[in-house]
């Protein structure tokens, strides 16, 4: 079994045995979606207008909660040295961890999105576009967040620092993710926006792999 695959399976196994992190992310997402009507009023037209944006923003913020565990736990128990000393490519290992992160955070969010969208009165016809956009966007969130998580290892108040570091980098995903759904709702073609999301994702893969690996090596010194 390759090292990257071993890391993926290990992280999935760990998440399965300790699902608290994934559940927290989902709980936050659900609670935030529920809070919004209290904040802006239950008027259906208004909710429908903001539903896409709210779902996307809440997914983004919820996923921020999950990054501390990504490398921090390995850093604390010394497992990170094993990863750093593996003859296998650290970049591949990092991508494996990002995949595990997405499977345990992004994918549940995508599955919970229809529920949130419904209570926020998103027109059901827009749902496929929303799910597709989330499917293309949430992996990017995992990748960019991983770079942030690797950078703040050993930093003071790293958990507070992480959102500040990754938020500006998230903006393109948010903009195109929402635009895709709104284009679809307006009867226009969502494809350009989805393609841009896909392009961002394909750019994020190498950048995050290299950036997070470099950050992990710094943390190991």
């Amino acid at each position: 079994m390759s090292a990257a695959r071993a890391v993926l399976l290990r992280d999935l196994r760990l998440a399965w045995r300790s699902p608290l992190a994934s559940l927290t992310v989902l709980a936050f997402f659900a609670m935030a979606a529920i809070l919004f009507p209290f904040a802006v009023g239950p008027e259906p037209q208004l909710l429908a207008r903001i539903a896409t944006g709210v779902v996307w923003t809440m997914a983004l913020l919820a996923s921020l909660l999950s990054f501390e565990r990504l490398f921090q736990l390995d850093h604390e128990d010394g497992s990170i040295d094993l990863l750093l000393l593996s003859p296998a490519s650290l970049e591949a290992i990092v991508l494996a961890k990002c995949l595990a992160h997405w499977l345990t955070t992004g994918l549940p969010l995508i599955l919970a999105a229809p529920l949130a969208a419904t209570i926020l009165n998103l027109p059901p016809e827009a749902l496929p576009a929303l799910l597709l956009a989330l499917a293309l966007g949430t992996p990017s969130l995992s990748l960019v967040g991983a770079v942030g998580a690797a950078l703040v290892l050993g930093a003071r108040r790293g958990g507070v620092l992480l959102p500040l570091l990754v938020m500006p980098l998230y903006v393109p995903v948010l903009v195109f993710g929402v635009a895709a759904v709104e284009a679809d709702m307006a009867g226009l073609d969502a494809r350009p926006h989805l393609l841009l999301l896909g392009a961002f994702l394909s750019g994020a893969v190498p950048v995050a792999a290299i950036g997070a690996s470099a950050a992990l090596r710094q943390a190991g010194e």
Binding site: L151, V171, P172, F176
Partner: protein
């Protein structure tokens, strides 16, 4: 270098200010307030230019661990942040008379706001570690990732702005850049660059002196720490 750049900075700032306040015409629509543009626009240029420099210095610092690059990167980050803050404040002041609000989500202002956050992130990360060198290296990675992402961010902000822009809101800009407005703009831009160079050199000198002191102290303390293997 320092005396030249400081002299240049003083002269250019004086010339630029004169041109901006007195030597250029008022705008047909905006009146005198358009003069804020002579600070706002060069500040935006400098903010982005500084970030590009920061990315280059960070790359050199990461690949070759050159102490000058590390020092320069740390020194220029707050300057870049200052330019972005200046741009944001002047943008706000400019917008108020025009639209009655203190903030408007104009494409340039929004991009600069995100750039400001990138600078803050760099400074926060660089200072978040006990070991300063580790902080600089971590922040360097962040600067490079940010630099790669910056064109994408800018593109997405422009896109977002055109998607949502109601017809009535105009750009935070002088309607047409008349040649008589171009000269003060360029002079101010050069003035900002000279100011940046001056303050940066200042800060680098100070930081290098600190490093030399720390290195000397380090060598003195380690005088006895030469272990050897005995069989």
């Amino acid at each position: 270098m320092l005396p030249w750049t400081s002299a240049a900075a003083v002269l250019l700032l004086a010339a630029g200010t004169w041109l901006a306040l007195l030597g250029s015409p008022r705008d047909y629509q905006q009146g005198e307030t358009v003069r804020i543009m002579y600070v706002h626009v060069p500040a935006a240029w400098m903010a982005m230019l500084t970030y590009a420099n920061l990315a280059i210095a960070s790359a050199v610092a990461l690949v070759w661990r050159h102490p000058l690059a590390e020092v320069a990167a740390r020194a220029m980050a707050p300057l870049g942040a200052a330019f972005t803050a200046l741009c944001l404040v002047t943008g706000s002041l400019w917008g108020k008379p025009m639209w009655g609000t203190w903030w408007v989500w104009d494409a340039r202002l929004t991009s600069v706001l995100l750039l400001f956050l990138l600078y803050l992130g760099y400074i926060a990360l660089a200072n978040a570690f006990e070991d300063e060198a580790r902080g600089t290296r971590a922040a360097s990675i962040l600067a490079l990732v940010g630099a790669i992402n910056l064109p994408v961010i800018k593109f997405s902000v422009d896109w977002w702005n055109t998607l949502h822009q109601p017809a009535s809101v105009s750009r935070l800009d002088a309607p047409a850049l008349h040649p008589s407005m171009l000269l003060p703009l360029l002079v101010m831009a050069l003035a900002f660059m000279a100011w940046f160079a001056t303050v940066l050199l200042w800060r680098i000198e100070a930081a290098l002196a600190e490093r030399r002191l720390a290195a000397r102290r380090m060598l003195a303390e380690a005088g006895t720490a030469t272990p050897a293997m005995r069989r």
